[in-house]
Symmetry: C2
Subunit: 129 residues, 2 copies
DNA sequence: ACAACTCACTTTCAAAATTAAAGTGACTAT
DNA sequence: ATAGTCACTTTAATTTTGAAAGTGAGTTGT
Protein backbone atom coordinates (compact mmCIF):
# COMPACT_ATOMS: atom_id res chain seq x y z
CA UNK A 1 0.00 0.00 0.00
CA UNK A 2 2.89 2.43 0.28
CA UNK A 3 2.81 4.69 -2.69
CA UNK A 4 5.21 7.45 -3.50
CA UNK A 5 3.38 10.61 -2.62
CA UNK A 6 4.06 12.15 -6.00
CA UNK A 7 1.31 10.07 -7.52
CA UNK A 8 -1.33 12.02 -5.60
CA UNK A 9 -2.78 15.42 -6.39
CA UNK A 10 -2.39 16.60 -2.85
CA UNK A 11 -1.86 15.59 0.72
CA UNK A 12 -5.58 15.67 1.43
CA UNK A 13 -6.87 12.22 2.33
CA UNK A 14 -10.08 12.82 0.44
CA UNK A 15 -8.23 13.85 -2.71
CA UNK A 16 -5.98 10.80 -2.38
CA UNK A 17 -8.87 8.44 -1.95
CA UNK A 18 -10.56 9.97 -4.98
CA UNK A 19 -7.34 9.65 -6.96
CA UNK A 20 -7.53 5.94 -6.34
CA UNK A 21 -11.24 5.09 -6.05
CA UNK A 22 -12.92 8.14 -7.54
CA UNK A 23 -14.74 6.81 -10.56
CA UNK A 24 -18.04 5.18 -11.35
CA UNK A 25 -16.88 1.56 -11.34
CA UNK A 26 -14.15 0.74 -8.86
CA UNK A 27 -16.32 0.68 -5.76
CA UNK A 28 -18.94 -1.42 -7.51
CA UNK A 29 -16.30 -4.08 -8.06
CA UNK A 30 -15.36 -3.81 -4.40
CA UNK A 31 -19.04 -4.08 -3.46
CA UNK A 32 -19.43 -7.30 -5.43
CA UNK A 33 -16.29 -8.80 -3.95
CA UNK A 34 -17.24 -7.67 -0.45
CA UNK A 35 -20.85 -8.73 -0.26
CA UNK A 36 -22.19 -10.49 -3.29
CA UNK A 37 -19.96 -13.52 -3.59
CA UNK A 38 -18.74 -12.53 -7.04
CA UNK A 39 -15.17 -13.59 -7.50
CA UNK A 40 -14.50 -14.48 -11.11
CA UNK A 41 -14.14 -12.10 -14.01
CA UNK A 42 -17.34 -13.39 -15.47
CA UNK A 43 -19.33 -13.04 -12.28
CA UNK A 44 -18.10 -9.50 -11.75
CA UNK A 45 -18.91 -8.59 -15.32
CA UNK A 46 -22.42 -9.98 -15.02
CA UNK A 47 -23.49 -7.50 -12.32
CA UNK A 48 -26.52 -5.47 -13.18
CA UNK A 49 -24.56 -2.33 -13.98
CA UNK A 50 -22.68 -4.14 -16.79
CA UNK A 51 -19.16 -2.92 -16.63
CA UNK A 52 -17.27 -3.26 -19.92
CA UNK A 53 -14.68 -6.02 -19.97
CA UNK A 54 -11.74 -3.72 -20.61
CA UNK A 55 -12.71 -1.53 -17.67
CA UNK A 56 -13.15 -4.48 -15.37
CA UNK A 57 -9.77 -5.78 -16.42
CA UNK A 58 -8.13 -2.43 -15.81
CA UNK A 59 -9.88 -1.85 -12.49
CA UNK A 60 -8.88 -5.26 -11.18
CA UNK A 61 -5.28 -4.52 -12.13
CA UNK A 62 -5.39 -1.24 -10.29
CA UNK A 63 -6.98 -2.74 -7.22
CA UNK A 64 -4.33 -5.43 -7.21
CA UNK A 65 -1.56 -2.86 -7.64
CA UNK A 66 -3.00 -1.03 -4.64
CA UNK A 67 -3.03 -4.19 -2.57
CA UNK A 68 -6.78 -4.07 -2.11
CA UNK A 69 -7.49 -7.17 -4.19
CA UNK A 70 -5.51 -10.34 -4.73
CA UNK A 71 -6.14 -13.16 -7.14
CA UNK A 72 -5.32 -16.80 -7.11
CA UNK A 73 -5.58 -19.34 -9.87
CA UNK A 74 -8.44 -21.69 -9.25
CA UNK A 75 -7.58 -23.76 -12.29
CA UNK A 76 -4.61 -24.44 -14.56
CA UNK A 77 -4.74 -25.14 -18.29
CA UNK A 78 -6.08 -22.69 -18.95
CA UNK A 79 -5.27 -20.72 -15.86
CA UNK A 80 -8.31 -18.96 -14.44
CA UNK A 81 -8.41 -16.63 -11.55
CA UNK A 82 -10.49 -15.97 -8.53
CA UNK A 83 -10.36 -12.42 -7.17
CA UNK A 84 -10.78 -11.58 -3.52
CA UNK A 85 -10.36 -8.58 -1.27
CA UNK A 86 -7.28 -8.45 0.88
CA UNK A 87 -7.40 -7.28 4.49
CA UNK A 88 -6.83 -3.73 3.22
CA UNK A 89 -9.62 -4.20 0.71
CA UNK A 90 -12.02 -5.34 3.40
CA UNK A 91 -11.25 -2.13 5.27
CA UNK A 92 -13.38 -0.37 2.66
CA UNK A 93 -16.56 -1.80 4.12
CA UNK A 94 -17.29 1.21 6.32
CA UNK A 95 -16.91 3.50 3.34
CA UNK A 96 -19.24 1.34 1.27
CA UNK A 97 -21.83 1.32 4.05
CA UNK A 98 -21.65 5.07 4.37
CA UNK A 99 -22.06 5.58 0.64
CA UNK A 100 -24.93 3.13 0.59
CA UNK A 101 -26.62 4.84 3.52
CA UNK A 102 -26.42 8.19 1.80
CA UNK A 103 -27.69 6.85 -1.52
CA UNK A 104 -30.56 5.16 0.27
CA UNK A 105 -31.55 8.27 2.16
CA UNK A 106 -31.12 10.74 -0.69
CA UNK A 107 -31.44 8.88 -3.97
CA UNK A 108 -33.98 6.24 -3.12
CA UNK A 109 -31.67 3.27 -3.62
CA UNK A 110 -31.93 -0.04 -1.79
CA UNK A 111 -30.32 -0.82 1.53
CA UNK A 112 -28.28 -3.99 1.75
CA UNK A 113 -27.73 -5.61 5.09
CA UNK A 114 -24.40 -7.47 5.12
CA UNK A 115 -25.53 -9.45 8.17
CA UNK A 116 -28.49 -10.99 6.45
CA UNK A 117 -27.45 -10.60 2.84
CA UNK A 118 -30.79 -9.02 2.07
CA UNK A 119 -31.61 -5.80 0.33
CA UNK A 120 -34.42 -3.84 1.84
CA UNK A 121 -36.88 -2.46 -0.64
CA UNK A 122 -36.39 1.24 -0.70
CA UNK A 123 -38.86 3.61 0.80
CA UNK A 124 -39.38 5.80 -2.25
CA UNK A 125 -39.08 5.08 -5.96
CA UNK A 126 -36.98 7.97 -7.10
CA UNK A 127 -36.13 10.33 -4.36
CA UNK A 128 -36.13 11.00 -0.68
CA UNK A 129 -38.81 12.38 1.59
CA UNK B 1 -34.01 16.90 -3.29
CA UNK B 2 -34.32 16.79 -7.05
CA UNK B 3 -37.25 15.28 -8.82
CA UNK B 4 -37.28 12.05 -10.81
CA UNK B 5 -35.08 13.47 -13.57
CA UNK B 6 -31.92 11.52 -13.07
CA UNK B 7 -31.90 8.02 -14.41
CA UNK B 8 -29.67 5.73 -12.49
CA UNK B 9 -27.77 2.70 -13.66
CA UNK B 10 -29.42 0.52 -11.09
CA UNK B 11 -31.37 0.46 -7.88
CA UNK B 12 -28.22 -0.06 -5.85
CA UNK B 13 -27.60 2.87 -3.51
CA UNK B 14 -23.88 2.67 -4.09
CA UNK B 15 -24.28 2.77 -7.85
CA UNK B 16 -26.68 5.70 -7.52
CA UNK B 17 -24.34 7.63 -5.30
CA UNK B 18 -21.50 7.00 -7.74
CA UNK B 19 -23.71 8.11 -10.63
CA UNK B 20 -24.01 11.44 -8.89
CA UNK B 21 -20.78 11.94 -6.93
CA UNK B 22 -18.44 9.38 -8.48
CA UNK B 23 -15.67 11.42 -10.01
CA UNK B 24 -12.44 13.02 -8.93
CA UNK B 25 -13.74 16.52 -8.25
CA UNK B 26 -17.27 16.71 -6.93
CA UNK B 27 -16.50 15.69 -3.37
CA UNK B 28 -13.54 18.06 -3.21
CA UNK B 29 -15.91 20.91 -3.94
CA UNK B 30 -18.19 19.61 -1.20
CA UNK B 31 -15.19 19.35 1.13
CA UNK B 32 -14.27 23.00 0.54
CA UNK B 33 -17.83 24.17 1.06
CA UNK B 34 -18.25 21.99 4.13
CA UNK B 35 -15.07 22.72 6.02
CA UNK B 36 -12.78 25.22 4.42
CA UNK B 37 -14.89 28.33 4.21
CA UNK B 38 -14.60 28.51 0.45
CA UNK B 39 -17.78 29.89 -1.03
CA UNK B 40 -17.03 31.86 -4.15
CA UNK B 41 -16.09 30.48 -7.53
CA UNK B 42 -12.66 31.95 -7.16
CA UNK B 43 -12.06 30.53 -3.72
CA UNK B 44 -13.16 27.08 -4.81
CA UNK B 45 -10.97 27.25 -7.86
CA UNK B 46 -7.95 28.25 -5.79
CA UNK B 47 -7.84 25.01 -3.78
CA UNK B 48 -4.60 23.16 -3.96
CA UNK B 49 -5.90 20.53 -6.38
CA UNK B 50 -6.64 23.24 -8.98
CA UNK B 51 -9.86 22.26 -10.59
CA UNK B 52 -10.30 23.69 -14.07
CA UNK B 53 -12.86 26.49 -14.34
CA UNK B 54 -15.10 24.63 -16.76
CA UNK B 55 -15.25 21.62 -14.47
CA UNK B 56 -15.96 23.70 -11.40
CA UNK B 57 -18.73 25.48 -13.26
CA UNK B 58 -20.26 22.21 -14.38
CA UNK B 59 -19.94 20.55 -10.97
CA UNK B 60 -21.58 23.45 -9.20
CA UNK B 61 -24.47 23.27 -11.65
CA UNK B 62 -24.89 19.58 -11.00
CA UNK B 63 -24.72 19.99 -7.26
CA UNK B 64 -27.33 22.71 -7.46
CA UNK B 65 -29.53 20.56 -9.70
CA UNK B 66 -29.27 17.83 -7.08
CA UNK B 67 -30.24 20.22 -4.33
CA UNK B 68 -26.97 19.73 -2.48
CA UNK B 69 -25.70 23.24 -3.08
CA UNK B 70 -27.52 26.55 -3.36
CA UNK B 71 -26.18 29.92 -4.36
CA UNK B 72 -27.16 33.42 -3.53
CA UNK B 73 -26.02 36.66 -5.06
CA UNK B 74 -23.79 38.55 -2.68
CA UNK B 75 -23.56 41.49 -5.02
CA UNK B 76 -25.41 42.99 -7.97
CA UNK B 77 -23.85 44.74 -10.91
CA UNK B 78 -22.21 42.54 -11.71
CA UNK B 79 -24.07 39.80 -9.97
CA UNK B 80 -21.73 37.51 -8.07
CA UNK B 81 -22.63 34.40 -6.23
CA UNK B 82 -21.83 32.70 -2.99
CA UNK B 83 -22.24 28.93 -2.98
CA UNK B 84 -23.22 27.02 0.11
CA UNK B 85 -24.30 23.52 1.03
CA UNK B 86 -27.96 22.93 1.65
CA UNK B 87 -29.17 20.73 4.46
CA UNK B 88 -28.98 17.77 2.07
CA UNK B 89 -25.46 18.80 1.13
CA UNK B 90 -24.39 18.91 4.74
CA UNK B 91 -25.62 15.35 5.10
CA UNK B 92 -22.54 14.34 3.13
CA UNK B 93 -20.28 15.06 6.08
CA UNK B 94 -20.26 11.48 7.36
CA UNK B 95 -19.32 10.23 3.93
CA UNK B 96 -16.50 12.75 3.69
CA UNK B 97 -15.22 11.79 7.13
CA UNK B 98 -15.26 8.12 6.21
CA UNK B 99 -13.40 8.74 2.95
CA UNK B 100 -10.90 10.90 4.79
CA UNK B 101 -10.37 8.27 7.45
CA UNK B 102 -9.68 5.62 4.88
CA UNK B 103 -7.31 7.82 2.90
CA UNK B 104 -5.48 8.71 6.07
CA UNK B 105 -5.09 5.11 7.16
CA UNK B 106 -4.22 3.66 3.76
CA UNK B 107 -2.80 6.40 1.60
CA UNK B 108 -0.95 8.50 4.11
CA UNK B 109 -3.07 11.61 3.69
CA UNK B 110 -3.72 14.18 6.38
CA UNK B 111 -6.55 14.02 8.88
CA UNK B 112 -8.71 17.09 9.23
CA UNK B 113 -10.61 17.70 12.41
CA UNK B 114 -13.79 19.66 11.69
CA UNK B 115 -14.05 20.60 15.37
CA UNK B 116 -10.72 22.37 15.49
CA UNK B 117 -10.24 23.11 11.82
CA UNK B 118 -6.79 21.63 11.97
CA UNK B 119 -5.15 18.99 9.81
CA UNK B 120 -3.04 16.47 11.63
CA UNK B 121 0.22 15.53 9.99
CA UNK B 122 -0.08 11.96 8.89
CA UNK B 123 1.86 9.10 10.36
CA UNK B 124 1.18 6.48 7.75
CA UNK B 125 2.60 4.77 4.68
CA UNK B 126 4.38 7.66 3.10
CA UNK B 127 6.01 9.00 6.19
CA UNK B 128 5.65 12.41 7.70
CA UNK B 129 5.79 15.64 5.78
C1' DA C 1 -11.53 59.56 -20.17
C1' DC C 2 -9.27 55.43 -20.70
C1' DA C 3 -6.57 51.54 -19.69
C1' DA C 4 -5.93 47.98 -16.52
C1' DC C 5 -7.93 44.88 -13.48
C1' DT C 6 -11.38 41.61 -11.00
C1' DC C 7 -14.68 38.00 -10.93
C1' DA C 8 -17.40 34.47 -12.80
C1' DC C 9 -17.81 32.21 -15.95
C1' DT C 10 -17.79 30.10 -21.31
C1' DT C 11 -15.41 28.52 -25.33
C1' DT C 12 -11.99 25.98 -27.63
C1' DC C 13 -9.43 22.02 -28.60
C1' DA C 14 -6.20 18.28 -27.68
C1' DA C 15 -5.71 14.35 -24.73
C1' DA C 16 -7.53 10.77 -22.01
C1' DA C 17 -11.29 7.81 -20.49
C1' DT C 18 -15.47 5.23 -21.45
C1' DT C 19 -18.40 2.33 -24.20
C1' DA C 20 -19.87 -1.42 -27.08
C1' DA C 21 -18.49 -4.75 -29.92
C1' DA C 22 -15.52 -7.95 -31.88
C1' DG C 23 -11.44 -10.72 -31.56
C1' DT C 24 -7.94 -13.97 -29.28
C1' DG C 25 -6.04 -18.03 -27.00
C1' DA C 26 -6.36 -21.97 -24.17
C1' DC C 27 -8.79 -25.29 -23.29
C1' DT C 28 -13.47 -28.69 -22.75
C1' DA C 29 -17.56 -31.03 -24.50
C1' DT C 30 -20.07 -33.35 -28.23
C1' DA D 1 -14.25 -31.36 -36.37
C1' DT D 2 -17.27 -28.03 -34.43
C1' DA D 3 -19.07 -25.45 -30.90
C1' DG D 4 -18.73 -23.48 -26.52
C1' DT D 5 -16.58 -21.38 -22.16
C1' DC D 6 -13.69 -18.17 -19.80
C1' DA D 7 -10.64 -14.43 -19.30
C1' DC D 8 -9.23 -11.36 -21.18
C1' DT D 9 -7.34 -7.74 -25.30
C1' DT D 10 -8.12 -4.87 -29.25
C1' DT D 11 -10.54 -1.61 -31.92
C1' DA D 12 -13.11 2.36 -32.97
C1' DA D 13 -16.63 5.79 -31.87
C1' DT D 14 -18.20 8.81 -28.34
C1' DT D 15 -17.75 11.35 -24.14
C1' DT D 16 -15.26 13.58 -20.55
C1' DT D 17 -11.22 15.90 -18.96
C1' DG D 18 -7.80 19.40 -18.63
C1' DA D 19 -5.35 23.60 -19.85
C1' DA D 20 -5.64 27.77 -21.81
C1' DA D 21 -7.73 31.63 -23.77
C1' DG D 22 -11.73 34.50 -24.25
C1' DT D 23 -15.97 37.18 -22.66
C1' DG D 24 -18.84 40.52 -20.28
C1' DA D 25 -20.13 43.43 -16.49
C1' DG D 26 -18.43 46.28 -13.70
C1' DT D 27 -14.46 48.73 -10.55
C1' DT D 28 -10.08 51.08 -9.75
C1' DG D 29 -6.06 53.87 -10.89
C1' DT D 30 -4.06 57.78 -13.38
Amino acid sequence: MSQPQTQFRSRCSIARTLDVLGDKWTLLVVRDLMWHGKHTFQELQASEEHIAANLLSERLKRLMALGLVAREAYQDRPVRYRYALTEAGRSLEGLLLQIMGWGHAHLGGGLYDPRTGRTVADASPDGPQ
